[in-house]
């Protein structure tokens, strides 16, 4: 077996261009640890699927090297890579039964009959479909087909499984159920998973680490909580979760805080993240749940007057749209805790936030 500390996948300076002019993937460097669940998250056209296809071997890299368990695989055809793959549309063979679908990778590997039987039985139990072995894919529901596709990608015990938006075609409830199921399978088998999605909730739920792609570049690579709480640039802050944006100019940076003059409405104390100097344009990023309505005097440095524009009751919290600093799309999530302030539309309120919750990011 391979050294467990060595990354199972390494992308080294990988570039990809389909037409020889536009780079779809620009200089990707990424190590994926053994046993890790890594998600490539990004809007469509961001290069995430291209990276997955290069790893699977269906697209050649234009430049750079991809290593699988330390071995370069640029010249290895897909059928010799031994990587399991789950496709967006399941890609089950419609002319074969569930059993035959699962037997396919095992027969290719010339396993003996008893071993094939043992493995298929185990795989079907893992996805909780042991009684469906004789059915054809066309006779299964979408969720069942997806489970069979997962079982088929795992039945030959690959070290690495790729999943290309596998839950995209399922309805919301089933999608959430399958998220947990795939996560549990990953945890119990210890297999490495590279998962591609554009659904951030899915990425946050399932991953050990998330690589946020945009414009062919990994914008940030970190754990879900890190990604949500400490976005490194304006794109990530905007793409992951809900986000209030205030545009302004940096006045002064001093260590862990900086002062920013928000356009036309005064000075804000913020946490400098990727700004470099005075006079620079910046985007202040604030999570709606980190903003307090009518904060007690003296608890937070940033307090502004606002007008309540809209209240939407969502049960566990009240989504409040406030006009603050000239922005009428400033969202505050007021938790429905006991004794929370009863607000009315058009009421004048104070909104406040802490320095470290207000991140000063690049202006783009």
């Amino acid at each position: 077996m391979n050294d467990t500390s060595e990354p199972i996948v390494r992308f080294i300076d990988v570039q990809k261009s389909y037409d020889g002019e536009v780079l779809v993937v620009k200089n990707l460097n990424l190590d994926i640890a053994r046993g890790e669940f890594l998600t490539m998250l990004g809007p469509s056209g961001s290069g995430k699927t291209t990276c997955l296809m290069m790893l699977a071997g269906f697209e050649p890299a234009t430049h750079g090297e991809i290593l699988l368990s330390g071995r370069p695989i640029n010249n290895v055809p897909p059928y010799k890579r031994g990587i399991g793959m789950v496709f967006q549309n399941y890609a089950l063979f419609p002319h074969m039964s569930v059993w035959e679908n699962l037997a396919f990778p095992l027969e290719v590997r010339r396993m003996d009959k008893a071993e094939v039987k043992r493995r298929i039985t185990r795989a079907l139990e893992m996805v909780r479909l042991p009684e469906m072995a004789g059915r054809r894919p066309g006779q299964l529901s979408g969720g069942q087909q997806q489970r069979v596709a997962v079982a088929r990608a795992l039945v030959f015990d690959p070290d690495l499984v790729l999943m290309d938006e596998p839950l995209g075609a399922l309805d919301k409830n089933l999608r959430e159920e399958m998220q947990y199921e795939i996560k549990h399978i990953h945890e119990s088998l210890g297999v490495s998973v590279v998962y591609v999605t554009h659904d951030q909730a899915e990425a946050l739920t399932m991953s050990n680490r998330i690589a946020v792609f945009n414009d062919g570049i990994v914008q940030q690579l970190s754990s879900p909580d890190e990604l949500y709480e400490r976005p490194q640039n304006a794109f990530v802050a905007q793409f992951i979760g809900e986000n209030n944006r205030l545009l302004g100019t940096v006045k002064e940076i001093n260590g862990d805080s900086c002062t920013v003059e928000v356009d036309g409405s005064g000075i804000v104390q913020a946490l400098p993240v990727n700004i470099s100097g005075n006079g620079e344009r910046t985007t202040l990023s604030l999570r709606p749940e980190r903003v307090t309505i009518n904060p007690p005097e003296g608890t937070v440095p940033n307090v502004f007057d606002g007008t309540v524009e809209e209240l939407i009751y969502l049960g566990d919290h009240i989504r409040t749209r406030v006009n603050v600093c000239g922005h009428d799309d400033f969202i505050v999530k007021v938790p429905n805790a006991s004794g929370h302030a009863a607000l009315a539309e058009k009421a004048t309120v104070k909104v406040g936030w802490a320095t470290e919750d207000c991140r000063a990011l690049d202006a783009s």
Binding site: A56, G57, F58, P77, P78, Y79, K80, R81, G82, I83, G84, M85, F87, Q88, N89, A91, L92, F93, P94, H95, F104, P105, V108, R109, R136, P137, G138, Q139, R152, A153, F156, L162
Partner: protein, 284 residues
């Protein structure tokens, strides 16, 4: 039959029945020549017309003598054998070549696809007499006229376009992630083709093969140019039969051919439906 809806106006009603009558006439127009041939083949007299005895359903006016004549006639038996040899051989060749061509044409990165497609299906579009004359001169240079090889190759060229068209149509609906899936599971391209692609495009291949066979089986123009006495096929023998010895044996052969065609069509349609059901594409 449901009949016209209750709110139908008299004009609508007359159109409703008139339309059906028109359809029946067109149907009759298409099938009448075939229907006439069948009873005539049982004629006891060596004529191509209904005798008085036949019209009054006199049993003595009917006979199987023309069917016996086929069995006793070496020329007919030889031409039937030839038709099957040439038909089956050219079908196998046309199906193989046409399927491979269609697979290549389905690749998205193939340049000049429309031009290649045009060349491949040209034997279907160019008037047959021109193709036949061209083949005659070309094949005589290669000393392939009046040989089985030459006739089989000529019929292969005529049958290939049908296979290309039907298989291409099947491939339009083919999900290419299935071939990727097969490869990710460890199957090399050859195995992927035989285990995944081939079973799924089989209905198109079968339809194409059927058309190719029928094209060869009832083709007379190219045979007139290319075949010697030794290579006479059924249509060529019928042609000779009409011109040289007018005998109702032709009608008996024609009837047998019609029955053969119906059986072939039915068998293949059943096979195709079974295959589609196995693929899980249609319910039940």
């Amino acid at each position: 039959m449901a009949g016209p809806p209750p709110y139908a106006t008299p004009l609508y009603r007359s159109w409703y029945y008139g339309f059906r009558f028109l359809c029946a006439l067109i149907f009759l127009f298409l099938i009448a020549p075939i229907l006439v041939i069948m009873p005539l083949s049982f004629n006891a007299e060596p004529y191509f017309t209904f005798t008085k005895g036949m019209l009054s359903l006199d049993p003595d006016a009917f006979s199987l003598r023309w069917y016996e004549d086929i069995i006793n006639n070496q020329q007919w038996l030889h031409s039937i054998k030839n038709s099957f040899i040439v038909g089956i051989a050219s079908t196998i060749l046309a199906t193989t070549l046409g399927t491979l061509a269609a697979l290549g044409l389905s690749r998205s990165y193939l340049p000049y696809r429309a031009a290649i497609m045009g060349v491949l299906i040209s034997p279907m579009i160019v008037p047959l007499i021109i193709t036949a004359a061209g083949m005659y001169f070309f094949y005589s240079e290669l000393r392939l006229t009046q040989t089985y090889t030459g006739l089989i190759l000529a019929h292969t060229a005529l049958g290939t376009p049908f296979v290309v068209i039907t298989v291409t149509a099947t491939l339009v609906g083919f999900d290419h992630s299935l071939t990727r899936a097969a490869q990710s599971l460890g199957a090399d391209p050859v195995r992927t083709f035989f285990k995944v692609q081939m079973p799924l495009i089989l209905p198109g291949v079968i339809s194409g093969a059927l058309f190719a066979f029928v094209t060869s089986f009832d083709e007379v123009v190219v045979v007139l140019f290319m075949a010697g006495f030794e290579q006479r096929t059924i249509p060529r023998q019928m042609w000779a039969g009409i011109r040289e010895q007018i005998s109702p044996t032709i009608l008996a052969v024609a009837t047998l051919l019609i029955i053969f065609s119906i059986c072939l069509m039915t068998a293949l349609e059943l096979l195709r439906r079974r295959n589609e059901r196995l693929r899980g594409l249609s319910a039940g």
